[in-house]
Amino acid sequence: MSFTSLVLKNLWRHKIRSLLAITGISLGIATIIALGAVADGMEQNLIATLRSGKADFSIGQANAPMIILSSVPQARVAEIARWEEVEQAVGALVSFSSFQNNPYFMAIGIEPEALDLGGVTILQGRPFAREDEILLGKMTAGTLNISLGESVSLDAQRLRVVGIYETGNLFQDAGALLYLPTLQKLKNRSGEITVILVKAKAGADLNRLTERVERAYKNELVTLRSAEEFNRNYQSLSLVRAGSWLVSLLALVIGGIGVVNTMMMSVFERTREIGILRAVGWRRWRVLQLVLGESLSLGMLAALAGTLMGWALARAVVLLPQARGLIAPAYGSELFLKALALSLVVGLLGGLYPAYRASKILPQEALRYE
């Protein structure tokens, strides 16, 4: 028998109590994994969106709470396109629409000549040429089993599918592209767009160009080149992250209290046993290590269980019809390491006081204890 096996035996002796403590922490860990994976997935998609195609950067409305709620006057596209450092500037309207029973379908209105700048590759058919034509992302076409030439309904407007496209971006490939004026009309947002995609001329200084945009349209427009800039300007992702941390923290505090309770009960019940250990020559430090070893093992087992639960939870969210195409969880090693570290910290903190109490047990007192 080794010291480690004694630690595990002690946990096994009170299976139900250990299981409850593990469940407490693992719920917090599962929340961290599930929400973290969703937020990371959203961020990765966002980066892909911002870097999609040949655009060097995007321009959105300053102070808009979410990118989808950004509103930029369409006239700005032509103004910026005239700048000498700019090779091409195109506007896109992004909007949630009702499509074949899905009320959260992402439709993007864009001019046909801007498809290349948007990184769109036509897999089948051709680009739209008329106001009543639409291109479907490959995921949309695949999931709904829609073929070229079929008529579909977008916000009750009948449109003919003339092509299937791919961008490599989950949001876009699970949506549809159509003629900008058509979407503006459908959404009653004439003269309005969501973002401007900008391609700079070769050799142009991108920093100076983005500064020029923000200076010229101060408090009106912001430029977006990275996820950090996106986070700074639009708080949706930050809010998801903050919310996820808050929920996780709460769950972990509850889990931590569970560990303290479990370990305190365990130490109290084993007063006599701990006295025996001290009497036969165990030092205080060794007793401390035993109890901390038990609480850390609870944390480690909770990390394992929580990771599995979190992974399953994120998978379940993806399978929801409302989330299909909008969420692709990303399971980075950093997320798992963070969850493991947190779980161990909760185990350690939860075990500190009971371990201290255990190490203070006097052998002669404990041996008298009944």
Binding site: M1, F3, E273, I276, A279, V280, G281, R283, L367
Partner: protein, 226 residues
């Protein structure tokens, strides 16, 4: 039998802020290899004396040297001393119920760095020596009172101590088991050349020792040869 393993001078131990005087100036000497019984009625201070010799408690005043260690001047945790020099046997055997007989014997060695395989072999050998070779994987609730106490004897010897302290080791046993355990303790003490101190209130048990030290009201009465 010339080397003194225990030297106690004027040991005083009080409880309840001095209101109860458990030991009132106890002086004694015990030699290496001796089997000594400390006997006396309930409340005479024998368990308190054993706790002091076993480094489980400290005297209020007096001198106490055990196996070359001055236990009064030593300020640090005496756990290391107990682990290296002592083997303790209690009346209620004090085994850990969730662990097997073998694991209980190994418990004192878990804090010690050393070859696990050798220690494991030593523990098995001891269980065999106390007649429990076929019960190494039984837990205490599956063993009889006598068997449990024999596991406790094996546990007390696993760290090769210089001194075995047994507090009423047969107090909870029937007469047959009592004889078995006492015989075993004496055999092992002789085989290993260790010093044995038996604390008992039972004169029959005290008779099994080489020498008897009788305590009454916290004081040593004149030592009596067994």
């Amino acid at each position: 039998m010339s080397e003194k393993i225990i030297i106690a001078k004027d040991l005083v131990k009080t409880y309840e802020n001095g209101r109860t005087r458990a030991l009132d100036g106890v002086s004694l000497e015990i030699f290496r290899g001796e089997a000594v019984a400390i006997c006396g009625p309930s409340g005479s201070g024998k368990s308190t004396l054993l706790n002091l010799i076993g480094a489980l408690d400290r005297p209020d005043s007096g001198e106490l040297i055990v196996a070359g260690e001055n236990l009064v001047r030593q300020r640090s945790d005496l756990a290391d001393f107990r682990a290296r020099k002592l083997g303790l046997i209690f009346q209620l055997h004090n085994l850990i119920p969730a662990l097997t007989a073998l694991e209980n014997v190994l418990i004192p060695t878990l804090g010690i760095n050393g070859g696990r395989r050798e220690i494991q072999a030593q523990a098995k050998m001891l269980l065999e020596r106390v007649g429990l070779h076929d019960k190494t994987h039984r837990r205490p609730p599956e063993l009889s009172g006598g068997e449990r106490q024999r596991v406790a004897v094996a546990r007390a010897l696993v760290n090769n101590p210089e001194l075995i302290l047994a507090d009423e080791p047969t107090g909870s046993l029937d007469s047959k088991s009592e004889k078995q355990v006492l015989d075993l303790l004496r055999e092992l003490q002789t085989e290993r050349g260790v010093t044995l101190i038996l604390v008992t209130h039972d004169p029959r048990v005290a008779q099994s020792a080489d020498r008897v030290i009788e305590l009454l009201d916290g004081c040593v009465r004149a030592p009596v040869a067994a």
